[in-house]
Amino acid sequence: MFDPAFLFAGVLNGLLAGGIYVLVAVGLTLIYGVLHIINFAHGSLLMLAMYAVFYLWRLIGIDPYAALPVVIAGAFGFGFVLYRLLIGRYNHGRDENILLITLGLSIVIDNVALLFFGGDTQTIDVPYAGTFVEIGAAFLPLPKIISFAASLVICAALGLYMAKSDMGKAIRAVAKERQGARLVGIDVENVFAVSYGIGIACLGAAACLLMPTYYVTPSSGHAFVLVAFTIVVLGGMGSFAGAAVGGFIIGITESLGGLFLGEQLGQIGISLIFILILLLKPTGLFGSKA
């Protein structure tokens, strides 16, 4: 029914989108793995970072890729402070409570964005947006390829940081055994705040990589939040490898779903995967704990 070349292009496009999803999901899974909280505000914070990228370009003329260091640093700081001021104070007790608090946070962020930025769809016109690269039978936009590569580099750097740096080791120790970590003298609250900050910094990076080809509206967060949760659940809550593989699977699912089922019905794949994984294998592909 479908030309293989068409399919090939669909898979490639999905992989490219998946590369950025990985970054979004890694942030979410890091926060879950270390703090054991589900950050429902993840999508809204991504949207906020996307607006930051947009306004850096619009007001000062900074290219989205050049904005990476600034936005990553800003997002980290924002996340760190958010944890210290709000999340960290209620990061205990029933797990629904923190879910509700992050839901409240997302409502506030979405509507603050609507209030200040308006409801219009905003895009960035980068000069290289129209440049295409031919791979096999597929024509792929250059910025998508750049973003894909950048995302992988950032993920690898984060992996290296987690493996080698002292803070990375502390984070992994806290994720495994927070009481034990506390006993050996790790400042667990600080590790929590840093982890949350890194999770949000991942969103900052993702925002820079998304903006050259994507648009932002105050409701952009909604579009991403379920995608991010699906990836994380698919890969296994708290698993980095899972987030990576899950990101690509979801990217391809979305792309092929759009091809075969059409723009509207195509989105159903993600929600269905989410439901099926939770019902059938809640530990996901790489998760160890339920």
Binding site: L100, N111, L115, F229, S271, F274, L280
Partner: protein, 320 residues
Amino acid sequence: MNRAALLCALGLLAALAYPLLVPNYLVTIGMLVFFTAFIGQSWNIAGGFAGQTSFGHVVFFGTGAYTSTILQVTWGWNPWLAWPAAMAAGGAVGWMIAVLSFRAGLRGSYFALITLAFAEVFRILANSVPFTKGGLGMLLKSDPRPINFQFKDPIWVYYLALLLCVVSLLIAWHLTRSRFGARLVAIRENEDAARALGIDVFAEKVKVLTLSGAMCAAGGTFYAQKYLYIDPGIAFGVDKSVEMLLVSMVGGAGTIFGPLIGSFTLMGINEVTRWLASVVPALKNVQPLSLIVYGIMLILIVARLPDGLMSLFRRKRRHA
């Protein structure tokens, strides 16, 4: 007669007299307060009493709205007959989601997220299948006669919403005094202990979500009959889910009057922000402003007042 019963009777009298004394605009606001309290109560029964927090309750609302609308538009049913059918459909969807999720052992945040995903699946389906007319939405023919569940005078819609609200209060009241309700609370407080004490946790949770789904679907039909138009975004959009959760949480989850107080509060905030917007030209966007206040209230309530605004009343009473 004790004081609480007296207060309820006075409140009901005031609610009955209210639309006779105010302009139509305020009648409609009153109607919205009771309607939102009603669908909020449907959330509260599952989310508040039984502790099964749902982020996708709109799935029942939309099922009700679409079922009664399709039955009328496509099959020529009378809306009064389509109403119970819509409730049955909502109950069936509640039953299905409960059986699937609770069989799989989903609790807490996971249950909340899977309900969100179910609502999303329904929204996308309603957007894509032919019998819902997709994204175009469905129009009900305007023919305002009581036999058609359409009313010329908003006062009748108001009284119907009030009736729904009173029925939902009675259901919640019953939960506070019945074995079923006690079991739901036990499940909310501690599932393992509930199980050890002989409660069939799975069966009770399925029962409550079925009931909640049927109630919420009744609200969906009411909404469709009032506005004579639904589309996938209205019927299955995340906003309504959040609204139901908000009014219950803000007013006091797991309390009889929580959703009603929450609904009053939110509608009050709405009106205040609307007024602010008319005075301060810079605040021309009203909707986001009130939602910002809701979001902040949700955070404050969860963090500081887990029993919602109701606990303020109760605390006062205890001191008195």
